[in-house]
């Protein structure tokens, strides 16, 4: 367990791993939703620690990965306009659209800026009244309150040159889609801790009731994830299906009320397409009509082009937990983080990218010819 050895709580982690192996009477299939959690599992070799007692599959919880190709193309089209400053989180720049990515548009002279916070984009709009500043607002529930506050702040400042290109997705509808699939094999979920810090975990109770599947809200550290896995295994072995909270130091049942109020003021639930999966009903957020003046889709005429993913990419099956990244014939050869074919390889938090980064030694590329 060479990865875990670097971790100072390795002894406790091993004890938890042994407990999980002892308690498991069959190889339960568990899914973590969040790409940050996938990263930790791979980084510390937690799946190897658990052996055959648990099979970990990786969910669609990387917002960079699931932002649709068409939306990336729209951001690129905006960035190419001479009157627009496109502002984005850094990890969106290298995500390929159907022809190019934002980094290359920037290199060609497009005004593309990277910020750490949407507040920086508001300040940019304020300091450059002659530019139309568009913020590329992607993310799950964790990021939504920040984007809502950016709109409210811009409104309060009377800014007419600030807007959002919104691509917001929600976790519970994705879990519902997974569980409704006839091919589903996931028996328990680790819910994402920072999403639940914002929205709480009330919504997950409906999923537990409807599908009789255990869900444990988990943190991002190795011990958090091992503890969440142990709690899921205990529920499965005892025939229980409940929502439990492992990440109590950050997550409360009701979540963060002020953050939820900001989301509710600015956004409403909408259908969204997920890259690699397809459309999921009521699975995202869009700006309310009241805030249309801050909606880049309303302000600019953006063509809707339907772009196709490469046929060889099995991202849908990876994102739905049906297959592992290493099941793909293109993994590590025709599809790498430098030249990704599909959603889970485009961001470092995607499952394929995490496998590539930490597990490459296990894949015999040569053996594939």
């Amino acid at each position: 367990m060479k990865y875990l050895d670097e971790y100072r709580d390795a002894r406790i982690a091993r004890a938890l791993g042994a407990e999980i192996r002892r308690r498991s009477t069959r190889p339960w299939v568990l899914m973590e939703i969040c790409g940050g959690q996938t990263h930790t599992l791979m980084r510390y070799g937690i799946d190897e620690l658990l052996g055959d007692s648990v099979q970990l599959v990786h969910g669609p919880g990387c917002p960079v990965c699931v932002t649709p190709l068409e939306t990336i193309d729209r951001a690129i089209a905006l960035a190419r306009r001479p009157d627009v400053t496109l502002v984005s989180y850094g990890d969106m720049l290298r995500v390929p659209g159907s022809e190019t990515d934002l980094f290359h548009v920037k290199a060609e002279g497009g005004d593309v800026r990277i910020v750490y916070s949407p507040s920086d984009a508001v300040q940019l709009a304020r300091s450059q009244p002659g530019r139309k500043v568009v913020f590329f607002a992607i993310g799950f529930e964790t990021t939504a309150p920040a984007h809502a506050m950016a709109v409210l702040h811009a409104e309060r400042l009377g800014l007419k040159n600030f807007s959002l290109l919104v691509s917001h997705v929600l976790v519970p509808p994705a879990i519902r889609t997974l569980l409704s699939s006839p091919n589903n094999r996931v028996q328990g979920f680790i819910a994402p801790g920072h999403v639940c810090t914002v929205v709480g975990y009330r919504d997950y109770e409906d999923l537990v009731r409807e599908f009789r599947v255990p869900i444990v809200v988990g943190g991002f550290e190795p011990l958090d994830l091992l503890e969440a896995i142990r709690m899921l295994v205990m529920q499965l072995e005892e025939g229980r299906a409940e929502v439990e909270n492992q990440y109590v130091r950050s997550v409360q049942y009701e979540g963060n009320r002020p953050a939820q109020e900001a989301i509710a003021r600015v956004f409403e639930v909408a259908d969204r397409k997920w890259r690699g999966i397809g459309p999921i009903p009521v699975s995202g957020l869009r700006l309310k009509d009241k805030y249309a003046a801050f909606d880049a889709e309303c302000i600019f005429e953006l063509a809707t082009v339907c772009a196709e993913e490469p046929a060889e990419c099995i991202s849908a099956e990876v994102l739905l937990g049906h297959k592992k990244p290493t099941d793909c014939t293109a993994f590590g050869t025709r599809c790498t983080p430098d030249k990704p074919l599909g959603a889970p390889m485009v961001s470092s938090e995607g499952a394929c990218a995490a496998y590539y980064q930490y597990r490459r030694h296990l894949v015999s590329i040569a053996s594939r010819g």
Partner: protein, 89 residues
């Protein structure tokens, strides 16, 4: 992308009607909006995501988490606005 980073609220100021904190992440200081954590005071530790504090956590937890994230090399991604150049293809 959905990681929140723990930091210490060094100072709270009112800026454009927004309750803003100067938050220390190890040696790096960033401004963070504190509107979602009205209970946070100077000296408290908060979890910050894209410039917004989303929860208050205790000091010991915060320091432990910070050390771990630092060792995982994810802090640069979360705190730095400067992207690395694309790999040559």
């Amino acid at each position: 992308m959905c990681l929140a980073i723990p930091g210490k609220v060094a100072q709270i100021v009112e800026k454009d009607g927004i309750r803003t904190g100067r938050v220390q992440f190890g040696g790096v200081t960033r401004q963070a909006c504190l509107d979602f954590v009205p209970e946070a005071q100077e000296g408290d530790y908060v979890m910050v995501h894209v410039g917004f504090a989303i929860s208050v956590v205790d000091r010991e937890e915060a320091e432990r988490t910070y050390a771990l994230l630092e060792s995982m090399g994810v802090l640069a991604d979360e705190l730095s606005p400067d992207p690395a150049p694309p790999a040559e293809s």
